[in-house]
Assembly symmetry: C2
Homo-oligomer: 355 residues x 2
DNA sequence: GGCGTCTGGTGCAACGATGCACCGATGCTA
DNA sequence: TAGCATCGGTGCATCGTTGCACCAGACGCC
C-alpha cells in the first residue's frame, strides 16, 4: 500500500531502502528489469510501494526531454462539440498515464501559433490541433523539429507536412446525407447556412451539399447561401448560433424562402431554429432544419434536431492512440488520415414540405 | 525579433552572447534587474531576443519546485457549464502565462482524489476543484503539504481546510429568486427536480426553494420533489437531462400535477422541458420551468429558458486570480469565500398558470 | 590610510532522474 | 589455465536553472 506521506520521496531513498543503487531502481523503472535478480526486483518494488515513491516528472523531463503530456488546441471548450472532444481525449490519455494541457485558440491564428510554440517550449511533443486554418504552414518549423501533430476535424491537404495525422469525419458524405434526406422528403428549395467557407471542413460540407442537390437533379446554382455576406469574415464558435439566427431571418425574408436548411453545425442549426421561431414560423412544419455534429443538445432541443453524427468517442480515442504511438516509437511512422463515417440521425426537425 | 530557431537555446548561450555569467541572466529573469547596470541589462535583453531564448520549464521547476501550471478538476467538460468555466479560466490563466491541465472526474470521488495526487506529484501546486463531494477530507493531506485549493461552485463548509478559497454563486438566493418568480406569477403547486441532494450546492438550492415557498405563504411540506427516488443515488452531468425528463414524466402523471418546476440546473431543465413535451403538454402554457446556470443554450432553446445566471467570466477570473495570488506569495493569505450574486433571467419558459 | 559599505556581478552546488561505460565474479570453451 | 562471455549491478557526468555566498573595486568617513 502507499504510505501516508508522498510527493517528495526520491529515487535515492528508494535505492537506500532496497539496498541497491539509484541506477538499479532507474533500470527497473525504465523497463530494464531483466538486468537484475528477481529478488532484487521485488525488494525495489516493495520499497517503492511502502515509500509511495513517484518519479519527479520535471527531473525526468529535464534529463530525457520527453514528458507525458499532450496539448489540445481547440477553438473553444465552451462549445459543446469541443467540450466533448476534450472530455473523450482526456479520458483516453488518462488511461495511459498522459495529461492534457488545454488551449483555447478562440479561432485566432496568432494565438494558435503562439500556443503551439509555448507547448513546444514546455517540452510537449505531441499536440492535437483543431485548427480552422486551411494551411498548417505556421507550425511547420516545429513539426520539422519533431513536434508530432494530429489534426482533428480537418481532412488532409496537399501542402500538409508528410508526418501529419489527420482525423476527421467524412464531411462531404455527411453533408450529402443530410441534403439527400431533405430531397428525399420532397424539398426543392434548400439553403446552406455557414460562416465564411474558410476552413477545410466547411468547404467539404458545402461540397457534399452541392453533391446532394445534384443527385436529386437540382441545380446547385440556384441554391441559397446564407448569410449573404458569407464570402467574407470568419466567425467564432460561440457566435455560430447568432449567425444561424441572423441567416434564418435573412432567408425567411426572401420572396421565395427555402423550405429546408442545412446548417454548418449543430450550434448554427440551433440558431437557425431560433430564427425561424423569431419569424413566427415553426421548425419542421414550415421549415426543415438539419445540423451537423450531433452534440448532446441535439436530442434535447425542441424539436429534437435531425443531424449528422460524428462518432466522437472513437475519433478522440483514435486521435490519442495515434499520437501516442508516434510519441513513443519516435518518428518512423508515416503520416496518415483517418476518415470516420458519419451517420444521419433523423429526429423531429425535418419533415416533408407543406404542399 | 525572435530568431528562426528556438526551443533549445540555453541560459548559458544567452550569457555568452551578452558577455555576462548565467547568474546575471538568471537575476534579470527573476526580477533582480536592479542589481546590474542598465547597459548590462539591455545587452542581456537583446541577446534573449535575438536568440529567441525561452527558459526551460522543466529545469526551472526541478530547481524551484514551482511551475506555471494549474489544475482544473471538473466533473466533465462535455457539460457546457463546465466547458464555459474551462474556457474562461484558461483565458485568465493565459493572460498571466499560466497553463491549465484538464481533469474530468466524471463525478467519481476516487478519480478526483487520484487526479489531485497526480497533479501534486507533477509539481502542480494550485488546483481549481469542482467537487461534488460535501467533504474535502480526501485532499486534506495534500493541502497540509501546501497544495493551494480553490473550490468552485461549492460554498465553504465548517470542516474545510482553513486555507481554502471557495467560489460560488449564492445558490440559496438564486433558487429563491427562481421560486419567488414563480409564486409571483401565481403558481401554487411547484415541484423541485434534482438528483440526490448529495452535494453542497444542491442542498443550498433546495433551501432557497423552500425559502421562496415560505415567503409566499406556501407550506414547503406539501412541495413536490422529483424524481421520487431522489434520496438515493447521485447522477452524472451528462445524465442530468435524462433525469429531468424522467422526473417530468413522473410529475405529470400525478393526480394533481405541478404547474411549475424548478430544476437543479439548466441541463436538467432542458430535460424537464423535453419530458413535458413528451407528455403532450407545452412548456410555459401548461407548465412553467426555471433552470439554473444560464448556459449558452438557455437562450437558444424553444422556448427560451427562464433561468438563474451565474456570472461565469467573473467567477472564473476570480478563481484564477485568487489561486495565483496564493501561489505567488506563498501561503500567508487566509482562506476566504466569495459568493457571487446570481441574477434571474426571465425568458419564455415561465408564465402565469392557466386558470 | 585603515576600515566599513555599497555596487555590480560571478562561482558553485544543488534539484532528481537517466543511461552509458564500466566492473568484479562466475561460467564456459579450447 | 588463459581467454572471453555473460550476469547483476554500480559510478558518474549530465540535463538547464536558480540563488546563496562570495568577491573585487570604488567610494566615503574619521
Amino acid at each position: 500500500m502507499r504510505g501516508v506521506t508522498m510527493g517528495e520521496v526520491t529515487i535515492q531513498q528508494v535505492a537506500t531502502a532496497a539496498g541497491v543503487s539509484p541506477s538499479t531502481v532507474s533500470n527497473l523503472l525504465n523497463g530494464r528489469s531483466h538486468r537484475m535478480l528477481p529478488a532484487t526486483r521485488q525488494r525495489i518494488e516493495a520499497a517503492i510501494d511502502t515509500l509511495g515513491y513517484r518519479p519527479n516528472r520535471a527531473a525526468r523531463q529535464l534529463r530525457t526531454g520527453r514528458n507525458q503530456t499532450i496539448g489540445l488546441v481547440v477553438p473553444s471548450v465552451g462549445n459543446p462539440f469541443w467540450g466533448a472532444l476534450a472530455r473523450h481525449l482526456e479520458s483516453a490519455a488518462l488511461a495511459e498515464g498522459y495529461h492534457v494541457l488545454l488551449c483555447n485558440s478562440e479561432r485566432d491564428p496568432r494565438r494558435e501559433r503562439e500556443y503551439i510554440e509555448e507547448l513546444w517550449a514546455d517540452g510537449v511533443h505531441g499536440v492535437v490541433l483543431c485548427s480552422s486554418l486551411p494551411s498548417l504552414e505556421h507550425v511547420m518549423p516545429l513539426v520539422e523539429r519533431g513536434l508530432q501533430l494530429v489534426a482533428f476535424d480537418r481532412t488532409a491537404q496537399a501542402g500538409d507536412p508528410t508526418s501529419l495525422v489527420s482525423i476527421s469525419v467524412d464531411n462531404a458524405i455527411g453533408s450529402e446525407l443530410a441534403t439527400r434526406h431533405l430531397t428525399d422528403l420532397g424539398h426543392r428549395r434548400i439553403a446552406f447556412v455557414s460562416g465564411a467557407l474558410a476552413s477545410i471542413n466547411r468547404k467539404e460540407r458545402h461540397r457534399g451539399f452541392v453533391a446532394g442537390l445534384e443527385a436529386a437533379g437540382l441545380d446547385p446554382a440556384t441554391a441559397l447561401l446564407a448569410p449573404s455576406g458569407s464570402g467574407g469574415e470568419a466567425f467564432g464558435d460561440v457566435e455560430a448560433s447568432e449567425l444561424g439566427r441572423a441567416a434564418a431571418a435573412e432567408l425567411l425574408a426572401l420572396d421565395e424562402p427555402p423550405t429546408a436548411i442545412v446548417a454548418i453545425n449543430d450550434m448554427c442549426a440551433l440558431g437557425v431554429c431560433r430564427g425561424i421561431r423569431d419569424g413566427g414560423l415553426e421548425v419542421a412544419r414550415d421549415v426543415s432544419v438539419v445540423g451537423f455534429d450531433d452534440i448532446v443538445l441535439a436530442d434535447l432541443y425542441a424539436p429534437t434536431l435531425t443531424t449528422v453524427r460524428q462518432p466522437m468517442p472513437d475519433m478522440a480515442g483514435a486521435a490519442f492512440s495515434l499520437l501516442r504511438a508516434r510519441l513513443e516509437d519516435s518518428g518512423s511512422a508515416p503520416g496518415q488520415s483517418l476518415l470516420f463515417r458519419p451517420e444521419l440521425v433523423v429526429r423531429e426537425s425535418t419533415a416533408a414540405p407543406r404542399s
